[in-house]
């Protein structure tokens, strides 16, 4: 951890910390509001998994691509997404990233090369692979990163996409966020493997296991994979072991998890753990960290209020944007 820490620099380390705190705060704001009954639909919280988004995003260039799953708030925040527009989307309001049409599971932000969260488990894997193909096809040295869960690795699309990325030697990075459950289904019930990273061997490229609760460890693994991809070295599968603090969606009590195991993971919460490192290394004081927490809290208070205040889209938007170039549904779009 030391060497990467040096490499990042103090300001960078504090930004990694702030990034995680912002994700946590965003999620807990959403959580509280949802439980009070103020938000429609259903939400999958990223609390506990912040180190992965923060660590990976830190090594990407601004024009790289990312794509994610139903549990995608953290990825967009870490990528620079605007929490105001995210909350507006969660509320189904017109100032949301998708004008309220997408909701939590379908936020995209083309401004940050974020090709969308996705309601279909595993869909991100193919889409991320396609974006990686675009990078290679254009020869622009960009990379594409797909985030997805342990459960997703049992979908056929995972297999097809990783195989294609292998043979086409695409600049694709696959971040397998192993929180050990697909809904209530523990990893041991859905595969025979201890390390899902081993699946990379079936395609002939590297699979790496990393502590998903250690932001610097994630960052280091991602940095290596991104560098290899940029150099034309092809894809990498990174399995980041982690744990979600809450149920699968808000409202799921997650009784299917062993309380002792659950507590052991809570004890390894990536945020206070990293905070301690920062303090120990003299990068920040307790008070500075607390100040970050308060700043972020205020930012998220304002952001959620922004979302709540944003108006609903006009009903005329229902039939808009089904097709490019023509809201009435007959295509007129296109370039020629």
């Amino acid at each position: 951890m030391g060497s990467v820490g040096e490499q990042v620099g103090s300001a960078g380390l504090i930004e990694l910390y702030r990034c995680m705190v912002r994700i946590r705060s965003f999620e807990e704001h959403a959580h509280k509001t949802f439980l009070k009954g103020g938000m429609p639909g259903f939400l999958h919280l990223y609390s506990g998994e912040e180190a992965i988004a923060a660590g990976v995003m830190d090594v990407l260039a601004p024009d790289d691509y990312i794509v994610t799953s139903h549990r995608g708030h953290g990825h967009l925040l870490a990528r620079g997404g605007d929490p105001k527009r995210m909350f507006a989307e969660l509320y189904g309001r017109v100032d949301g990233y998708c004008r309220g049409k997408g909701g939590s599971m379908h936020i995209a932000d083309m401004g940050h090369g974020m090709l969308g969260a996705n309601g279909i488990v595993g869909a991100a894997v193919n889409i991320g692979t396609g974006a990686a193909f675009a990078c290679k096809y254009r020869g622009d040295r960009r990379v594409s990163v797909a985030f997805f869960g342990d459960g997703s690795t049992n979908r056929g699309t995972f297999h097809e996409a990783l195989n294609l990325a292998a043979i086409w030697e695409l600049p694709a990075i696959y971040i397998l966020e192993n929180n050990h459950y697909g809904v209530a289904n523990p990893q041991s019930d859905h595969t025979k493997l201890k390390d899902l990273a081993d699946r990379a061997a079936a395609y002939g490229f590297p699979g790496v296991v990393v502590d998903g609760n250690d932001v610097l460890a994630v960052r280091a693994a991602a940095a290596e994979a991104v560098e290899r991809a940029r150099q034309g070295g092809g894809p990498t599968l990174i399995e980041a072991k982690t744990w979600r603090h809450w149920g699968h969606f808000i409202g799921d009590s997650a009784k299917y998890r062993d309380p002792v195991e659950h507590q052991s993971w809570l004890d390894r919460d990536p945020i206070p753990a990293f905070g301690k490192v920062l303090v120990a290394k003299g990068v920040a004081t307790e008070a500075e960290l607390q100040a970050i927490g308060e700043e972020v809290e205020a930012e998220m208070d304002a952001a959620i209020e922004y979302g709540r205040q944003s108006p609903f889209p006009d009903v005329s938007e229902l039939t808009m944007d089904v097709y490019v170039g023509d809201p009435q549904g007959t295509s007129a779009g296109g370039r020629s």
Partner: protein, 330 residues
């Protein structure tokens, strides 16, 4: 009058009861799907079934929709009677080959040698703020594939009787539950009974117009019929219950009587199953028609997330009433 106290349960309980009764009767029936076991099902349907039959007959699968249906085809060919769950109908296209090319066709293409008695239970429909990937009504896709039976019950009573019929049938059946109906209550007998596949049900008699519908739209049509009655229009509500095989006789009998047909479904209009129904009427009841055949259906859009837009997406009694009144105004 009978001594038996009428018993009221909800649609979800009715489905579970059908599963339990059939599994008691026939050891070859198993259930498989994502989180159907220990977790009790993401909508909670299979919880009581797992409680009684445990993990050997109610099997949790990985997130592998093609394997869920694909292995059901193999198991059925080898003599079992799988009842599998695909959580949302939106995920059915993942297993498009397994359902449309394998389950639907093996009986025919193998010359009648192989049966494929599987039931695929799945939840359709909008209304819970679940957005484009968890809200569709995709029955039209299923209905176009010969070899499949498509059932979409509207009441707890029908759900139980039709699911029992579906499980006993030797053909592959797609059984569409509507997530907004799970909590709907109704009288349901305790023991087992069968509602014949392929028989529509007149849920309300009427003289002036036939509202043809299924699944969650039956409630909306009944509410609309009530509103129309207040305006002096007598609407018959015909609940198809089974989409394929389609009860053409019931449709034609009703439309020949009323002279007017309004077809109602939640699915997007273009290419929806309403087109099939309209075509049957425009062909075989043409001489009885006093007015154009109308469809009241979802707009041709993905289902939007925003509650403001989703509410506008879903067909409701008001829209049906307005369409019927416009028909009489023409």
């Amino acid at each position: 009058m009978t001594d038996i106290k009428p018993r009221t349960i909800n649609y979800m309980q009715a489905v579970a009861e059908a599963l339990i009764l059939e599994m008691r009767r026939d050891p070859d029936i198993y259930i498989a799907g994502e989180d159907v076991g220990k977790f009790g099902g993401s909508f909670g349907v299979t919880g009581p079934v797992y409680k009684e039959f445990g993990a050997t007959r109610v099997l949790d699968t990985p997130i592998s929709e093609t394997a869920i249906i694909g292995t059901a085809v193999g198991a059925a060919a080898a003599g079992l009677r799988p009842v599998v769950e695909i959580l949302f109908v939106d995920f059915l296209p993942i297993a498009g080959d397994e359902l449309f090319n394998q389950a639907a066709k093996i009986h025919y293409m193998f010359g009648g040698q192989v049966d494929c008695p599987i039931v695929v239970r799945t939840a359709m429909g909008a209304g819970i703020g679940a957005a484009a990937h968890h809200s569709q009504s995709l029955e039209a896709l299923v209905c176009h594939i010969p070899g499949l039976i498509t059932i979409a019950p509207a009441t707890p009573y029908d759900a139980k009787g039709l699911l029992i019929a579906a499980i006993r049938d030797n053909n592959p059946v797609v059984f569409l539950e509507h997530k907004l109906l799970y909590a709907a209550k109704g009288e349901v007998p305790e023991g087992d009974y069968v509602i014949p596949i392929g028989k529509a049900d007149v849920k309300r008699e009427g003289a002036d117009v036939t509202l043809i519908c299924y699944s969650a739209m039956v409630r909306q049509c009944l509410a609309s019929a009530e509103a129309l009655a207040a305006e002096g229009i007598s609407a018959e509500v015909l609940d198809l219950r089974t989409l394929v095989p389609l009860d053409k006789e019931a449709i034609l009998a009703s439309v020949r009587k009323t002279g007017r047909a309004v077809i109602v479904h939640e699915a997007c209009q273009t290419g929806g199953f309403g087109g099939e129904i309209a075509a049957v009427i425009a062909d075989q009841a043409f001489g009885s028609l006093k007015a154009p055949v109308k469809r009241v259906a979802g707009p041709d859009t993905p289902v939007p997330f925003s509650p403001a837009l989703e509410a506008e997406f879903i067909v409701n009694a008001e829209k049906i009433t307005a369409a019927v009144k416009a028909l009489f105004a023409e």
